[in-house]
């Protein structure tokens, strides 16, 4: 039965509020303020997971984001469960359920552990060297590899939580609420900088917050008490915003930073609902102060990965902050002074410390003296050569170090313990600094990489800048901040600081053992199970760069991104290869600093807000008349209007027939419309379209084709000359924005001399198109006083008109080949006008038709749709539209490209009509066209671009592009489908009313 290892006095844990939670199905208790890790430790649970490769038992090792082992699955609900969450960062809440990962059937008995037995066979990157025979077996091998890999489980149902974004602009951003961050925030805010202070913990103060030790005092009070007062004072600063539970995820160039604020993860299950779970702050800061502190390093020795082996500073936080004993007989193993702080804290709380094993010869610092005063046993110049205990450490083996530190001497001592604290010194958290593009420098005397040069307006202060002693931290931070903000803040002048000084330093990256290296397991990357041996193997095989070693051994590529392992990997590489660490350089730290949920990155841009939806003024009418809608770019366009249980084919056949037999009505509001004014408007059109415009009469419309400079068809549409210097251009629905942008580009950069202004009026006008033999009768009812005679109002002309006093423009143009009109009216009257036309047309069975019918009708006439019948490789000539290329014009966009050696070939793919031998057979759009089906490989001569069953011709028709098609009229060809071959004949592109009689019908 698990014992309770909680001691009474901890100010940060509310021991009156008991919280129940489940771990691996077992109900346990903790308190408000606990993390899952501290609560588990309080219940004497160390074993929480299995390692990635060997499935070795692993326990809680740290107390923050660097935790490599205690990675758990939170929750069991299919939509709300979350894999790979660090127990050291989960704040305990009522109803929390967590479970171990990567073990089966259970963390206590894990079948995968056989891998540990085979470990001699599976060194780093073994998989590159095997699983190759028999060749086709890889699929099978891979199946099992994949099953055993991976850690937690993905949710299997959509997330119910809400995520959000917020942009934030500030003068100064301070990252980290430790002692130096507090000083920075206070200084900035007091000097009228609009300041933001963020910290990933739920409370400010960093590690100083629980530093109650004679050796660390400021103005005669414990450093923690001094800091608490400082934090109190922050409240009064109005320029200061403080965000806790907010973790800086990414630091991009131009001081653009992303921070994730956790809003509900710490709340009881029933309190979480309908609240934003996480908010991603998109921060633009004028100045950035990084005060992210440092991480304690482990030590690398044989079997250094057993449950119960923890970072010494974490043991200290668990006892001082959470009031939790990580064990009852604790040994400490160190190469520096900080383990002695832990020793003192432990013995002050009545936990017996077996001994401190210190690889150094001695240390006379204040803190060590104090430890000795408390009677703590110290083994100087010793190292741990092995540890015992499978699911939890139960003893360590100690030996004396040789003078050069490369071997061990003397006889082995065994020391029983239920917890081992290790301390390998400190690593500044320079991740954000390097993310931002900053360059690092190496400091030899304590082997740390420090911020050096940066392009951005930023500084690093405190221990992330290499200041580890209390007096350095405060004094240097104050100076750096004043200089950085160009202020003179004297709050912190002449502070009296007591601080222990570490003079004696010694570091051994890979500690020696009495066994040959090959027989030991000194772990570097605990989660990915890569050892010092693996790194040495990689080097032996010629993988020299840190990036190679990292990728070959996977060191530093686990979910902790090597926070604890990178430095030792570098150290061992440098040592083995005999190069200076400074010259070796470090790996690049990539965003995010800690893993970031996809949800937070996406925010509320999901579902309805995944992408913009554009609607026409008449949209509601279509919806009310059960239109099916088609996505055209961001637009919703009426696709077809099924009646009763009509399917699309039936509806389209009916609509198409009605449009030609009597009257159809189409919502064309989505077409792009550009208002063109200026004395050079005509010249401008001459340059952007392939045909000539100067001679277009006022009141007339003309179809135009627009090319790219590469000569390929880009867009098309009808442009109307409203008055001398005033045109209205229409573009395709999809092309509208690009066309306007392209034309503005030419005006501003190539032809600034032209007096032309372009204004988009796409949304200002609703466009109602009426077509069919009865369209004239209907329009005459809608606008009685407009003379519609062919003489007064011929095809391809326009009139201004009034409908119930509302100005509108009526164009007599046709995309269907029928007699038809387009009425442009300001959008607010669009729906009403549509209804009016519909009413007027009732007696003629006016039929609303959608895009599908429109496509069919225009195909009967052989009109192209840019983007469907063209694909960016078709010239006007290819489209058999030579007539639209002005021979007279000196130049227009794309003209020169039409005369390149390939574009002038006359056997290019060309637009043709296609008829199937079987008139009922409708070709598939995209189907390929061939002449020769026998000999392989089959040569493809073209493909079907548009294909429909025409109710008006009562046969299948298609448009296609075919190599040398112009010359092949009447040629029999084949369309080979998967299961059959369809016989077709090449025809003219116009299938209906070749003489255009219907236009004036």
């Amino acid at each position: 039965m698990s014992k309770n290892l909680r001691i009474i006095n901890s100010k940060y844990i509310d021991q009156t509020s008991r919280i129940s939670f489940k771990f691996d199905g077992k109900t346990l208790y903790g308190f408000k303020g606990d993390t899952l890790a501290s609560a588990l430790l309080a219940n004497d649970i160390h074993l929480v997971g299995r390692s990635f490769k060997y499935h070795r038992p692993r326990g809680i090792m740290a107390c923050g984001p660097e935790e490599p082992n205690a990675i758990v699955q939170v929750g069991s609900d299919a939509s709300m469960t979350e894999p790979n969450t660090r127990a050291t960062e989960i704040e305990l809440y009522e109803g929390l359920e967590a479970s171990s990962q990567n073990c089966w059937p259970s963390v206590n008995f894990d079948i995968g552990a056989v891998n540990n037995f085979f470990s001699p066979l599976i060194p780093a990157a073994f998989y590159y060297k095997t699983f190759m025979w028999p060749a086709n077996f890889w699929k099978l091998y891979e199946y099992f590899i994949r099953k055993s890999a991976g850690l937690g489980k993905s949710p299997t149902e959509p997330d119910k939580d809400i995520y959000d974004h917020r942009y934030l602009h500030c003068d100064v951003l301070v990252v980290g609420g430790g002692i130096s961050g507090i000083i920075a925030a206070k200084t900035a805010a007091k000097n009228n900088f609009n300041t933001l202070l963020i910290d990933d913990k739920n409370i400010l103060g960093g590690t100083t917050l629980f530093q109650k030790n004679e050796c660390f005092k400021i103005n005669n009070s414990y450093s923690n008490e001094w800091l608490k007062k400082e934090i109190e004072n922050l409240k009064s600063l109005k320029n200061l915003t403080i965000k806790t539970r907010t973790s800086l995820a990414a630091y991009h160039s131009y001081n653009y930073l992303l921070a994730r604020e956790n809003l509900t993860d710490h709340l009881d299950l029933n309190e979480k609902k309908d609240k934003i779970r996480q908010r991603l702050w998109k921060i633009r800061a004028k100045k950035v102060i990084i005060a992210t502190g440092a991480m304690e390093r482990p030590l690398i020795f044989n079997n250094n990965d057993r449950p119960g082996i923890m970072l010494s500073s974490s043991i200290k936080k668990y006892i001082d902050y959470y009031g939790v004993k990580c064990g009852q007989q604790i040994s400490l193993f160190t190469n520096n002074d900080s383990a002695y702080e832990t020793a003192i804290s432990l013995s002050n709380s009545g936990v017996s410390v077996n001994s401190v094993i210190d690889i150094r010869d001695k240390s006379n610092s204040l803190i060590v003296k104090q430890a000795e005063k408390l009677g703590i046993k110290i083994h100087w110049k010793h190292t741990v050569v092995n540890t015992n205990g499978y699911k939890k450490i139960n003893s360590i083996e100690i030996m004396k170090l040789s003078d050069d530190g490369t071997t061990v001497v003397g006889k082995k001592m065994k020391e029983g313990c239920d917890c081992l604290g290790i301390s390998g010194g400190w690593t500044p958290r320079v991740h954000l600094f390097t993310q931002s593009g900053g360059k690092l420098k190496f400091r030899d005397n304590d082997n740390v990489f420090l911020p050096d040069k940066s392009e951005l307006d930023q500084i690093s202060i405190g221990s992330c800048n290499g200041d580890f002693e209390l007096d350095e931290v405060t004094k240097n931070s104050v100076n750096l901040i004043n200089k950085f903000l160009k202020v003179n803040n004297n709050d912190y002048e002449n502070l009296e600081i007591i601080s222990s000084k570490e003079i004696d330093k010694k570091n051994i990256w890979l500690l020696p053992s009495d066994k040959p290296l090959g027989k030991t397991k000194p772990f570097l990357d605990f989660q990915n199970d890569s050892t010092a041996n693996d790194v040495k193997l990689a080097l032996r095989e010629g993988f020299k760069s840190i990036e190679h070693v990292k990728r070959y051994t996977t060191t530093g590529m686990a979910t902790d991104q090597g926070k604890l392992s990178n430095m030792h990997a570098l150290g061992i590489i440098a040592e083995t290869a005999g190069v200076k660490m400074g010259e070796l350089g470090t790996t690049t730290f990539r965003p995010p600093y800690t893993p970031l949920t996809f949800g937070a990155i996406v925010g509320r841009n999901v579902g309805e807000f995944f992408d913009i939806t554009r609607k026409t003024p008449i949209h509601d009418w279509h919806a009310k008349h059960n239109a099916e809608f088609e996505n055209v770019g961001q637009w919703k366009r009426a696709w077809y209007y099924p009646i009763g249980n009509e399917n699309m084919h039936e509806a389209v056949q009916r609509e198409s027939k009605a449009a030609r037999d009597s009257a159809g009505i189409l919502d064309a509001s989505t077409l792009g419309k550009i208002d063109i004014q200026g004395s050079d408007a005509s010249e401008f059109l001459n340059r952007v379209y392939t045909n000539a415009w100067s001679k277009l009469e006022i009141g007339k419309c003309r179809y135009g084709l627009m090319l790219n400079e590469d000569g390929m068809v880009y867009d098309d549409g009808v442009t109307t000359r409203i008055s001398e210097n005033h045109y209205l251009m229409t573009t395709t629905t999809g092309g509208a924005a690009n066309v306007l942008g392209k034309l503005e580009d030419y005006l501003q950069t190539e032809w600034p001399e032209l007096d032309v202004y372009l204004t988009s009026v796409t949304d200002h006008y609703a466009t109602v198109s009426i077509c069919g033999p009865n369209s004239k009768k209907i329009l005459s009812k809608v606008i009685p006083d407009l003379n519609l005679s062919d003489k007064e109002f011929p095809h391809m002309s326009f009139k201004n008109a009034l409908i119930d006093n509302i100005k509108c423009r009526v164009m007599r143009i046709s995309f269907t080949g029928e007699h038809s009109y387009e009425i442009n009216i300001q959008s607010s009257y669009g729906k009403s006008l549509w209804e009016k036309c519909f009413e007027a047309g009732k007696e003629f069975n006016i039929t609303p038709y959608g895009t599908e019918t429109m496509h069919l009708l225009r195909a009967e006439k052989g009109f192209i749709i840019a983007g469907q019948d063209t694909d960016g490789t078709m010239t006007p000539v290819d489209l058999q539209m030579d007539w639209i290329i002005s021979k007279k014009k000196y130049d227009f966009i794309g003209k020169r490209s039409l005369y390149r050696s390939d574009t002038i070939r006359d056997d290019r793919k060309q637009l043709v009509g296609l008829l199937t031998d079987d008139p009922k057979e409708v070709l598939e759009e995209g189907a390929q066209i061939v002449l020769e089906t026998k000999k392989q490989p089959i040569e493809m001569l073209g493909h079907v671009t548009s294909s429909y069953f025409s109710p008006n011709l009562n046969k299948s028709i298609a448009l296609a592009v075919v190599k040398n098609g112009k010359k092949l009229k009447g040629q029999k060809m084949f369309v080979p489908m998967k299961n059959k071959t369809i016989n077709v004949t090449i025809t003219d592109t116009v299938f209906l009313d070749k003489e255009n009689k219907r236009l004036n019908a």
């Binding site: 131009y254 633009r284 503005e744 580009d745 130049d891 003209k895 005369y899 390149r900």
Partner: protein, 91 residues
């Protein structure tokens, strides 16, 4: 995300702009006089500089004006902006 100083509107977030590639590639006044090679040079061939590049940007979601930017493509640092038709402030 860059901060780009539009010569007309001032400093704005990159998302308001669209990039237009290498600057000062003048469209030939008389394309028909050019050989296929010369035309291809204008159409497709680019310096694609690593280092200081003169390039075009458009404040597409602001004033819709095109302008020039001098940017170091090896570290994305913007050294200067100037209007169309103006001489580069830095050579």
């Amino acid at each position: 995300m860059f901060l780009i100083n539009c010569p007309y509107c001032g400093e704005r977030d990159q998302s308001e702009f669209s990039a237009g590639g290498e600057a000062h590639i003048v469209r030939p006044k008389q394309p028909t006089e050019l050989s296929d090679d010369e035309w291809a040079e204008f159409l497709f061939m680019r310096k694609n500089i690593k280092g200081i590049q003169f390039e075009r940007w458009n404040h597409a979601h602001g004033c819709r004006k095109w302008f020039n930017v001098i940017r170091d493509t090896s570290n994305d640092k913007i050294h200067a902006v100037y209007k169309m038709g103006e001489e580069p402030p830095i050579k």
